[in-house]
């Protein structure tokens, strides 16, 4: 036979698959917010609360935990760790400095932001990736954030002009 044995469609037709795995790349509009108040200056309180809660949960669940303060500071720098838990159950975690939030008009993207050695600001994602997003100036939780500027504005509409001028299908 020179015809296909079976022709199954997963996207078209009757049945669809659940699409793709979760992607955790920071969207280019992601910005740093130190707290809920800074977020609500730009976005709705509902959306801010939802995303900040997710980032807090991500922090508690996935940030590295150390039994000794020195171990944590060796990784994140002197004064950049804090205690969690009590008594024999206590441990050290990097101090959360704020939130990277993006795509807030769409599905939303979040990541907790930490201060590392040399005051580097970075965020980690649910997928386990780490992204440098800027740096902190000053000490303690109130240190000012400055963006690395790596995430720039996006232009659109750079494709499509020919299609309009020919008022034609692109196919042939």
């Amino acid at each position: 036979m020179r015809k296909s044995k079976t022709v199954r469609l997963v996207l078209l037709g009757g049945t669809s698959l659940a699409l793709g795995a979760c992607d955790d790349t920071p969207p280019s509009d992601a910005k740093f917010f130190a707290n809920l108040q800074e977020c609500t200056a730009h976005y709705s309180e509902d959306k801010c609360q939802t995303m900040i809660k997710k980032a807090d949960e991500e922090h508690v669940a996935n940030a590295p935990k150390y039994s000794r303060k020195e171990e944590c500071e060796a990784e994140f720098g002197i004064g950049h760790c804090e205690t969690r838990g009590e008594g024999s159950g206590s441990f050290f975690m990097p101090m959360m400095m704020g939130y990277m939030l993006g795509n807030m008009m769409g599905g939303g993207w979040y990541g907790p932001v930490y201060r590392g050695r040399d005051n580097a600001a970075f965020t980690t994602t649910a997928g386990g990736s780490t992204y440098n997003v800027g740096s902190f100036n000053g000490s303690g939780r109130g240190a000012a954030f400055s963006s690395s500027g790596a995430i720039t504005q996006v232009a659109r509409g750079g494709f499509g002009a020919s299609s309009r001028s020919y008022s034609s299908s692109s196919g042939s």
């Binding site: 078209l12 993006g102 996006v154 750079g158």
Partner: protein
């Protein structure tokens, strides 16, 4: 090769819409998918078409190799602007894989198949050939065979693109059902091959100064674009795509072939080949009646039939600014007043199947009907 009148399945519209997701069976109120007739071939005829397709593809690949070796002179004859040359050579020298193409052939069941043109960059009428006519034959005569393993070959072909977990974006222009249907179908096959995929319209692709981005600002690192390279070259973001900011399918080297001037270069490379029609950039080089085609035309626009330099038939359109190629006039065969052109598919450069489009005039346009086939 015979044209056979058939009775349409009574519920075919509802069936193809519901079960296949085939949304463009009727275009502007006129039938596009047409199962009131079909073509019957013999196995020997299918062999002839398959062999010709394989040979034409090999000749085309040889032509790209020659173009890349000879450089500027050939690109200039193909009217390919200089900005595109490094991308053509880079993609060819790095052996960037191609997915598919469609040879439009003249065939009457008797004389050898002849190449009218090669749609190497943005061929459509794929879903109809791969899925809808297969489904039609399963319903009508499941015991019969068809020259059509396009679906299986597409799924297989995706596995060799080595995209890993890089998400492949499928892009078409906004608001065109047939183009959307084609990329949605290709995406379907890519998903079945295990690729990460997403869909975007060409107009929505973003650029942040160093990367292409989707509407959620995620980077686009691999792009299947149902959008002609020669259009991309003329547009604002074209240079970014040429610079390698994203992996592109079809690769840039397809520009050598998606260009009808390549018909003249093929004839120069293999004059007298039984599957080629004489073609030239200078009409004086061809004796007798010729067809004038715009080098970057699509969908049969701006095609003219010339007899001793006098235009005897012509279609309208907006193409032709880059010049024309002339091809010896080989009229389509007539089957009861219908003029079929064979669309013979290659997937990963191997013959994969065919679809037939039929018109009631001798120049196949975007209004022609898709008619299924089988062979015995």
């Amino acid at each position: 090769m015979k044209r056979i009148a058939t009775t349409p399945r009574p519920d075919w519209r509802a069936h193809v819409e519901r079960d296949l997701g085939f949304a463009f069976h009727t275009i502007d109120g006129a039938p596009y998918w047409d199962e009131t007739a079909c073509y019957e071939f013999t196995a020997a005829e299918v062999d002839a078409l398959e062999d010709a397709t394989g040979e034409l593809e090999q000749m085309c690949l040889a032509l790209v190799e020659r173009a890349v070796k000879s450089g500027g002179e050939t690109y200039t004859r193909l009217r390919i602007p200089e900005i595109a040359w490094p991308a053509i050579e880079g993609s060819w020298n790095h052996a960037h894989k191609n997915l598919y193409g469609r040879f439009d052939l003249r065939y009457d069941g008797a004389s050898p198949p002849k190449l009218y043109e090669y749609n190497a960059d943005t061929p459509t009428a794929l879903f109809e050939a791969s899925v809808v006519q297969w489904d039609w034959l399963e319903a009508m005569w499941p015991e019969r065979d068809q020259f059509n393993s396009i679906h299986e070959r597409l799924i297989e072909a995706w596995k060799f693109f080595e995209l890993g977990r890089t998400r492949l974006y499928f892009a078409a222009v906004k608001g065109h059902a047939e183009d959307a249907g084609t990329v949605d179908y290709l995406r379907d096959t890519a998903m079945q091959a295990g690729l990460e995929t997403a869909r975007i319209d060409m107009e929505d692709i973003g650029w942040d100064g160093s990367r292409f981005l989707d509407l959620d600002s995620r980077p686009i690192e691999a792009l299947f674009k149902l959008y002609p390279w020669e259009w991309i070259l003329a547009e604002e973001f074209g240079a970014h795509l040429l610079s390698g900011a994203a992996r592109v399918i079809e690769p840039a080297w397809k520009m050598v072939l998606s260009n009808k001037a390549s018909l003249a270069l093929l004839w120069e490379m293999a004059p007298g080949h039984p599957n080629l029609l004489p073609a030239a950039l200078d009409p004086a080089a061809l004796g007798g009646a010729a067809v004038r085609k715009p080098i970057f035309g699509r969908e049969g626009a701006n095609v003219a039939v010339l007899d001793a330099s006098r235009i005897t038939a012509e279609t309208g359109g907006a193409y032709g600014a880059e010049g024309f190629v002339y091809q010896a006039h080989a009229p389509l065969p007539s089957f009861d007043g219908n003029f079929p052109v064979i669309g013979s598919w290659v997937v990963a450069s191997a013959p994969a199947g065919m679809g037939i489009r039929e018109d009631s005039t001798a120049i196949t346009r975007d209004t022609s009907r898709f008619v299924p086939h089988y062979f015995v």
